[in-house]
Symmetry: C4
Subunit: 229 residues, 4 copies
């Protein structure tokens, strides 16, 4: 079942580890088959070193396991909540990458300070509101997804493919699993750069909106001309 997508999600999980944004089992990647309404996701707590494509788990959008012998990631409900709310996206990633987590712990959005961020994200990286005690105790993983969705009111998840969950860490997404991993790695890098900028200047000068727009459009706009396309 969904053998090709399971291979893709497996390789994307390995890539996440290879890129240095994950230690131990601190991350997970999923992807969705929109036609079938099924999500392939990393199993919970299985080390990257011994993980295989057959360890991937297939769940439906109500979080029922429909294929696989392992338990799915403990963050599965957050992933499915995002897939249901954001029909544009095909892959989701969660990590505890160091600098992104640090900004999430600071409960600060990452302002757009330069073209590195503007090439991927049409503005600041948003940060959710902290969950209430009621939200945590009702259905934590679902309400985490809901807090992200609430924060994206008025934002386009295709243009801002990353978020910080206050006190927790980053989620990123994209058109597929690979693209989501790419965005998670970029998020860690821009969080690192913003940390250094904050070290050497205060207040931090935001990038001019017209430069932000130019860079984002150059890569993602209607007439994008970056790369070999």
């Amino acid at each position: 079942m969904l053998k090709e997508l399971r291979e893709e999600v497996f390789r994307a999980n390995i890539e996440l580890n290879d890129r240095g944004v994950v230690i131990y089992t601190w991350g997970n990647v999923s992807a969705i088959d929109r036609e079938k309404g099924l999500v392939v996701i990393k199993p919970s707590g299985v080390p990257y070193e011994t993980m295989t494509a057959d360890d991937m788990v297939v769940v439906d959008l109500d979080n029922n396991v429909v294929w696989g012998s392992k338990k799915p990631s403990s963050d599965t409900k957050t992933h499915t909540t995002l897939y249901k709310a954001f029909p544009q996206i095909g892959g989701v990633v969660h990590t505890h990458s160091r600098h992104a987590v640090a900004w999430a712990q600071a409960r600060r959005e990452i302002p757009c300070l330069g073209t590195t961020q503007a090439d991927y994200c049409a503005g600041p990286v948003p940060c959710t509101k902290p969950l209430t005690e009621e939200q945590v105790n009702r259905d934590y993983e679902t309400t985490t997804g809901e807090a992200i969705v609430e924060r994206f009111e008025g934002l386009d998840p295709a243009a801002v493919p990353m978020v910080l969950v206050a006190g927790h860490g980053p989620f990123a997404w994209g058109k597929d699993a690979d693209d989501a991993v790419h965005n998670a790695v970029v998020l860690e890098e821009v969080a690192h750069m913003a940390t250094i900028t904050a070290t050497i200047t205060n207040p931090i000068p935001p990038l001019e909106q017209y430069v932000l727009d130019y860079h984002y459009e150059r890569k993602h706009g209607k007439n994008a001309w970056y790369g070999q396309k």
Copy 2:
């Protein structure tokens, strides 16, 4: 004698080095056989590159060498003091990992700022009081252990498996040598994240207690459901 445990402790010492939390001989791992009351520990000052399982040293809880041709780690008395005071633990690790040492040098506990720490430690990482001159000159390695034990009055060492010794560095422990190494690596990572958070915001916002409790219980509580268990 204790061949299996010696292999375990040897591999855990190598893992400590491979995870990048140790340079030269700046760390040591031990494990205890509770039935026999014997501790296996790394030898003093032997490079990781040439160390073998046969270099491990077996001592009793009074610090007498009962097996092995090498001298045990200079920190042996600290390890045995912890094993005597904390019957729940099976392995102990000491490192000079960079960020954990920096917080120990600052003589600051690491507040629990996010779920990364909450997944492993049910609150802040405590920091001991500085040793007095009398303590240092009486029996330094033993009094170091005693300062840790004193700091844990009212704390559960199973729920808080890590500590900073003021002006010195971190100790971590766990149910066995591997688990202790895992906690030592996590401690370095959360110390690194807390450093970055402190760089970008002041004061540092602590994690809500109900999130801390939820995350800790999800992994370690009676009804823990993280991983494949």
Copy 3:
């Protein structure tokens, strides 16, 4: 066409990646054949892992592709603007290396704080003025080059082979592609060192001009005697 120069530029792009100053496709190296007035440059958006020397693109100084099947780097016009304004230089590099970007985001020049920088750069690393909205929308990549050239009024690009573009990132150059890569790596390193110095002291004490002069002259002056020359 220009087979040898294409090999050189290809290898210099790989070196840029190997030195850790680039992730994904976030950098580009070019070199010029001054006699022919032709520039060899990296293609746009091709991953380093699969890139070959035959993917390099040859353009003239008016940015017309004269050889190659790929599209040239999106930053090509910045490179050619620099070649036209600075006849002394033979290679140009652009990266998004972390610390250099952070200073560019802070819109601060990097003062010369020590001999490490003085060995390569006869003074501070300059930072351009931000581009105006008109400049961005007219011809962004060309005006980026022009902003660099404007900033170098009164400066010798052979003696100051590196610059920060405000809100964007670093460019470096040299007598050929290899030399430009070397200077890009040095720029990242001195930006990193300056960041740390700014962390531990304020204000930052600049290097005495006579030490700066001595070190720069020792390596680059008429009577330079560093190395085996």
Copy 4:
């Protein structure tokens, strides 16, 4: 001539590179044969990748080349000045390691903040006075050595085997080339730790003198008992 010592110095230079405290040719190691009064030192500007033991250069204490086809390190006079002033030492290292350079650029000594430093250095890592213009223009490399020697009035170079040259970078030494490299790596590590501590607390609390003494004596005192000796 001095084949064994040349091998030692060559391997120590490679080790310096392998330990990550040097990029390009930014470091040099030497060792002395005290009976013959001859010093073996790295050649100037030769890349580590292609360097061999036969590239090492032998000089006398007046800086005359007595063996070898290469030019000696541009810092040779600093090394020989140290050997003449400090008869206890057998090896000298100079690097531009990142954090040590940053403290040198800040012109701050590194206070002894913890036992990591106390295990190697009986107090703060001293920082020289800046050189005067006269010193720089008279005989820069010799006066650099003299500034170090002046700073060590009242200090024991065997107990404090490392120094920062203001605005420049670190020198370290030891009983032989290997020991000097070890101390240079330790210096970078303690500089890194002190930087982090300075980030999270202000003022920085120095280590109690009695802990410093205990740790230093444990490894280096008359009754040292660390390691397998």
